[in-house]
């Protein structure tokens, strides 16, 4: 799975927009959208919001979690806790990127939010690396991690799996000749 696919999934998230056009309900496979009344907030998926925004057909209202105070709180929490705290949104990274890249004029304090989300992301990825490291060094057979987002899993998956495979191969080749103790140092 590559990041663009995860982003694609994130585009199904719902955001509120304020359209500046008038349109009846539109009927799509994924469900009905609208009706669109100029000046009245309406909930649409991110992909539509961005599409409309690019054509200057709407103003996007940032999701409630995309707020400096709330994100600061999440960041502090994330730094304090050793385990993963629940993310502000299951697609927080993707949504931040999408919305800030395309609609930063509709989001107050866009720069601060970008920094905060990056901080949260970095903290979480660091935790993820750390847990992967301890997972390998303790030679555990399984581990459980809660509150990971799809994007986070996706960033670490290919590398982790490949390296585990690789190590397995190395270890099984090594096993006959060496003692069990030496297998630990790689």
């Amino acid at each position: 799975m590559d990041p663009s696919e995860v982003e694609f999934l994130a585009e199904k998230e719902i955001v509120k927009i304020i359209p500046n056009f008038s349109l009846d309900k539109i009927y799509l496979i994924g469900g009905d959208l609208g009706p669109f009344n100029p000046g009245l907030p309406v909930q649409v998926p991110v992909w539509l919001a961005l599409n409309l925004k690019q054509r200057q057909k709407c103003r996007i209202l940032p999701p409630p979690w995309m707020d400096v105070d709330k994100l600061e709180e999440v960041r502090e929490m994330e730094r304090k806790e050793d385990s993963f705290t629940p993310p502000p949104s299951p697609y927080y990274m993707e949504l931040t990127k999408l919305l800030l890249n395309h609609a930063s004029d509709n989001i107050p304090k866009a720069d601060e939010i970008r920094t905060l989300v990056k901080d949260i992301w970095d903290t979480r990825i660091a935790k993820l690396r750390l847990s992967a490291d301890s997972f390998i060094s303790q030679q555990e057979a399984h581990a459980k991690l809660d509150n990971l987002t799809l994007m986070e899993i996706n960033t670490t998956r290919s590398f982790l799996l490949d390296s585990l495979n690789c190590m397995f191969k190395l270890r099984s080749n090594m096993q006959p000749g060496t003692s069990a103790g030496k297998a630990l140092d790689y």
């Binding site: 008038s22 100029p38 000046g39 907030p41």
Partner: protein, 1119 residues
Amino acid sequence: MPCERKPMRYGHSEGHTDVTFDDSGKFIVTCGSDGDVRIWESLDDDDPRSINVGDKAYSLALKKGKLVTAGSNNTVQIHSFPDGDPDGILTRFTTNATHVAFNHSGSRVAAGSSDFMVKVVEVSDSSQQKTLRGHDAPVLSVTFDPKDEFLASASCDGSVVVWKIDEQTKVTSWPVLQKSNDVSNAKSLCRLAWQPKTAKLLAVPVGTTVHLYERDSWEHVGTLSDDMITQPINVVAWSPCGQFLAAGSVGGFLTVWNAESKLCVERQKHEKGYTVCGMAWHPSGSQMAYTDTEGCLGLLDALPTSSANALMKTHKAPVVKAANDYDDLFDEDDDRVMDEGLSDTHSPAKHPVVGGDDDDDDDDLMPATGRVKNRGSFLDDENSLDTGSLKLGQEKYRDEDDAGSTIAPPTGSSLLPRPVYDGPLPTPPQKPFQPGSTPSHLTHRFMTWNSVGIVRGYNDEQDNAVDVEFHDTAVHHAMHLTNALGHTLADLSQEAVLLACPATDELASKLQCLHFSSWDANKEWIVDLPEGEDVRAVCLGQGWAAAATSTLTLRLFSIGGVQKELFSLPGHVVSMAAHGEQLLIVYHRGTGFDGEQALGVQLLQLGRRKRQVIHGEPLPLSFKSHLSWLGFTAEGTPCYVDSEGSVRMLNRSLGNTWTPVCNTRETCKGKSDYFWVVGVHENPQQLRCIPCKGSRYPPTLPRPAVAILPFKLPLCQTTTEKGQMEEQYWRSMVLQNHYGFLSSSGYEIDGEGQNQAQKEQQELLMKMFALSCKLEREFRCMELAELMTQNVVTLAIRYASRSRRMALAQRLSELAMEKANQLQEEEEEQEESEGAGGHLNSRPHQARQEEHREEEVEDAQEMETLETDGENRKRQSRCLNPFARGAGGSPEKPSPKPISKEGRVNPFKVLGSGKSPSSSGQSRITNVLDSMTSARRPAPLGGSSGKQNKGPILKPLAPKPKTKTQSTLLQMATSKAANKKAQVNTEPAVDRLKQPEVPPPDSPVDNSENKKPRTGFQLWLEENRKSIVADSPDLPETDVIREAMGRFRSLSAEDRLSWTERAKGQSVDPADLKKRKRAEEVGEVDSENAQKEADENIAKKKRSLDSTAKLSAFAFNKN
């Protein structure tokens, strides 16, 4: 009264504060719980100097450039003044010091502490300390004898002790105070004060009175009290002359007595009623500063002084004469009362009173708890109204005063009666405002926000501009105008922007209109108003503009700038709103009293037949509120909101009364949160408003988002099921009034929505009926039944008989008969009147009949197609590919409508609504999103294609015959419900409108097909089709037939047989025969249809048809 209370201002954060003047009287110095000492040059000093002295400062004293503070770090510190440099620590305690005081010369400082000790320290040498021990609880306050011999202290142990400083011994002690365990728990701070100069008296606040003790004898020589003081006195302070004693109490009462006469010369009430905890006289004695526990600083100015006193003595008589009549009257009264009460007519206390009565009797001291003004100015919230001088509750106090003054004053502390006006006070009239605007004093403000767009005004250093933005960019692109004329009023419509500015010294008041929808090149016009006339309110209707001016004139203009009618208003305008051809004006009907506004309302119809709909009737407002929004719903019903958040709507069906439909305050989370209304829609029921946290109106940035509130009629007991349904019913009734209005004034109405609403109402009635039935309230059942339409009554009869309420069913059937007769009569009348209408009317009537026939034929056609290809694919049709349908129109329906109209149907579209795509009247292009990129559509008012179904439905139609049922009894019986009737009739109406040129569908082919023998099912379907469609309006054509088959099958064998027989006996002309048959079968058909409905709506379970025979006995039979 003479003194002037300056407005309070914030000095410190909430908590204990203290205040003093410096020696020169140039600075006010305060300290507070934020640990800062602030030096104010005056009360208006916006940038006081701050000296930080610790975490908290409990008390301060200032003399000779030394600032002594008692802080939270258990020390008493010195700072230099006014520089604020720390000058060391004077003394330390084991806990914090509570009060510090200088002696008269400034050489010594006394400090009382929570560790029960009082210390007296030489300022020059802090090692020279004297400790006074003897209190058994924290010391509340200390004060020096001006002669430096004694020191008095009050403590939480309830005692006030006088010490001899040099000997460090107790001289005397009075256990007069209430005991407590800590300063924070003490009822009163008990700040003592020793009379300056003579040093004769020591003032001790005891409860709500002040005790005066004489020096040396230490006798209690007098008590100062005032009836107004109801809570313990916190602080007392002597005026520098030693003649007056001021006291400040819990609850914010400020009182000044003349110590000699023990008369109260001054009363003031803290403007917010906060506890006064610090007080200081200006060295000149003319001002007094005070602080409260909320950190605010206040100032009383123009206090009586001894010099003024002397002056007054000589000039007493002239002053009294000089006072105006009103005051004079009361002054004399005063004198008389005082003369009665006191033998000493030359009591000095009287003079300041008289002297002070010169002007603003209005603005004086009186207690005004919760005065609207203060709240208003605090929130800075009122764009329209300076509620300022709504002096609520003032009269009560005055009454008390009066009562007090007539009784002989007890113990010599007399109350001064003051000039009193006893009646209700006039409310200042509300200022004019534009609906949806924020106050004009703001630099960035909304000049108007309505359903069309937003006009924002900027007026700061770099820019004076007006921004116009449209919600729907299809109306017009956003505009940025420089506001050279200084416009303050704006309105916005689909056609134009109207701006207006008040007159200046050089320029007359102007009205500027940007008529952007004009088709010529000149899109702007400006009109100058006559000199001395100011625009107060403007509004834009459809094709016209109106401006109300300061000369009580209302001027109408055409949208192109032609001056039209003008008329005089009965009062000063408050606000105006327009919608289509309607103009709604709210004006001041008169003077309101006690916080009420007296507003009147006029509603005018400015179309071709101009008339006044509401003739200046009083506008109902909530208690003590003012108008805060005025406008129309998108559907054109007048509507307004008052400052208490109550939304009222005109109820045209109840003699143009105003019905409260919503209270926005109920939905607010916080007490100071408000909803700022920007629009009201009746269909769908929406109140569009902007939630404002802690204010009445939103800021322009960040851009506020609109929220939607539902309507809720304030009916009783809406928590119960009954109350809920009643509320729903009446809400639906009130909010569907606009259909009647729109159709009567020739606008296109959303028939679909109306039917929906009516259906909902009938359903609710039926539910309420069922509920009352369950509760055995048969009388109530009857009452409900009277509200029902005739066919729902039939259902009710069934329900009643099924639940074995035969008496009720009997009555209901009588009612049904009555209703049927009524209906019939009405229709006959209508027919007659139409017949009498002559030539003009006869055509539409004919057309209608034709139309009806047309429709029947259409039905028959459908049957035929079903016959031919439907028979053999009865079952297959179930798994028909839904995508196949859209491709070539509906195969089941070779309708007269051209296929092209449907356009390319969106294959994904769920047929959610009852209307088939063709009847929706909307030509949608497949990819709606793509279509939006196309250039903006020409937008006649509200008529852009996207808006046909919603939004402001303002689409005048060419006069068309009203669609009405064919007025025969037969018709009534067959097409069941009123709503069904309407549906049946509106659909052809729509069709006809769309394509009047389409030839009548009875083509030869159809006719030949009609002649084919028909099956019983077909006949049955013909009869019941409408009821099926009405029951489940969202079924597509195939499903309707399928459903019909299902139902037909569920009929009993006999019934089916009878239908088949009927079919066989049918002649070649089905249309004629059908009618005849209908006449014969009315009763039966009726009962069967009703049975169907009952099955669907109520029982929702299959019952054997045999029971219907029994039940139908109660169904009325027309024959």
